[in-house]
Amino acid sequence: MTGQRAGRRRRRRAPAGFRVGAPFRWAVLLATAVYFLVPLAASARYAVQGNGGTFSLGALTLMAHDGALWSGLLVSLAIAAGASAISLALLIPTAIWVNLRMPSFGRVIEGLTLMPLVVPTVVLVLGIINAFKDLPGFFFGTPLLLAVEYVVLALPYSYRAVDSGVRALDLRTLVDAGRSLGATWPQLLRLVLLPNLREAILAASFLTVAYSLGEFVVANLLTFNTFPTRLYEVGTEYADEAVAVSVLALTLTWAVLLSVSVLGGRGASREARRSQRAAMTAREARRLGSEPFGRPAAEPGEPA
């Protein structure tokens, strides 16, 4: 089972015949860059352009003094944080359990997570209203409702991210090894599984955050004031500022994602350094101390 998986991972490397030349790769990269960057650059330029083509920060200043925009932003950030926390808490145990205990059920789960793409948003919103309208006020009508909603809507992306991370691990062996060494399930999760799923966790929170910061239709239909709904209002009230607004939204989302990624990355290297430092201290200690098993500290007679 496990041997096969290792084999599959090795085979994933592209066969030599399929390699394409460097010029082709650069051409593709360039085309993609042009496709994405040209509209962005144009918008950015338009955003800082006053009447008659002069440079002006007017549009941006107007934004900065818009209180409703700032409060919408706070709400959106809170919802994004809540949504990614909830979705990680749900998805990680699910993905681990499915892959460990009933791998054949994985297909079904995967299909279920695709539902938000299939069911029209309006239908979903009506469903939510009907399902939750009798709940006490601390849930219905609070941002928590929207966070839960975004967890569901981002499922097609976030579940895939977590699931592929879990699949890339040799889960069964790691769990067995940890258990036989005396780890309880919580210890196993904290010390082995979560650290090895770091990238998948990052990717999933990434996608959920991005989704939450950009979602407009549901928030609007449920009459919430979030960052995107306020941006929309601004766009309709002051037509000139609409472009500045969209550039701002893009930059903001990008900045949030970047900070998530930087924070996650730093955590990883810190952990690795700590582990490595511990090993070096041990070696020092041993060099000074005695050698209990009476074996010289020779390199093993085996090529690395």
Partner: protein
Amino acid sequence: MTEPAVVLARDPVRPAAADAVARRGVRVEVAGCERRFGRIVALGGVDLTIEPGELIALLGPSGCGKTTLLRALAGLEELDAGTIRLGGIDVTALAPNRRQVGMVFQAYSLFPNLTALANVSFGLRLRGVASAARRRRAGELLELVGLGAHGDRFPHQLSGGQQQRVALARAIAVEPRVLLLDEPLSALDAKVRTQLRDEIRRIQLTLGITTLYVTHDQDEALSVADRVGVMDQGRLQQLASPHIVYERPANAFVAEFVGSVSRLPATVGPNGTVEVLGRRLPLPPSAAPAAPGDRVDALVRPETVAVRRDANGLGLVVGRAFLGAVSRLDVALPGEVRLIATVTSIEATTLGPGVAVSAEVTAPPLFVTAPSSARSR
């Protein structure tokens, strides 16, 4: 499959230092263990007792239930029936993290996020051992497996053999009562494999730890074990010392699985004899009841077959494999019978494919069975 290594009587005396360290050997008693997966019977009633400090190698074809038995011992697989006792205590219902059983897996199982040293000290960390003590102990163990200088490497920076050494150190770091090895060397190349298997044996003797070593490499089993267990279809077919398993197999399956044999048509003769290739030989003691005149199959080891170049011989050499000092000949006999013989490589130079030969069995067959209809092997 290769010829088994020459089986030497194992020196029963352990290294002097061993007894000072030996502390962990407990008796392992497996009784009536059964495990089914749907219609597949992975364990069909296994009884097995491992004496304290003993190393038993478990040999068997793929899918015969070796891993399942090991996982059951570790508590990673639940049993449908049967009990498991470690050191006289019933652990059948005990969770794996409370069994104090060390396990080394076939697949690379080091935690990728931890260095070799942190991997080895993982179990100690869970047991709340202070960090300095834990590092010292892990360092000692890495030293024991010859990787003292590699503590700060991550698993992906280690070769396969080194990873399995670290996995071994990690398993014994927590001073388990029993050590379970599930084909720890199967992913390694031949040279590293021989070296590491001897090292595992050395460490096992030093620590005096009761060990169950699963492999499907018979050389490995025959050369390191105190006793060899041969499994098939979820049952233990024979459990005995290596040379007994090789020389006096309990049944035809064991005879054919351990080492190589030829199946030759034979006739039971009078007074406890059997006639094979025109020669009358003593009927093997373990044979099934057979009356004179019965047609049977005799199982014969290649080293008990003599092959001579003979223009009038009925045999025809169809294959020759050079194995070093000896060579293996594949001889076709009339009636689609295939005979395997080992001859010295010097003799073999004149016995290439196409040469007509006569063959003779020089020692009593291992076993006789009912004739098999499928002759094409």
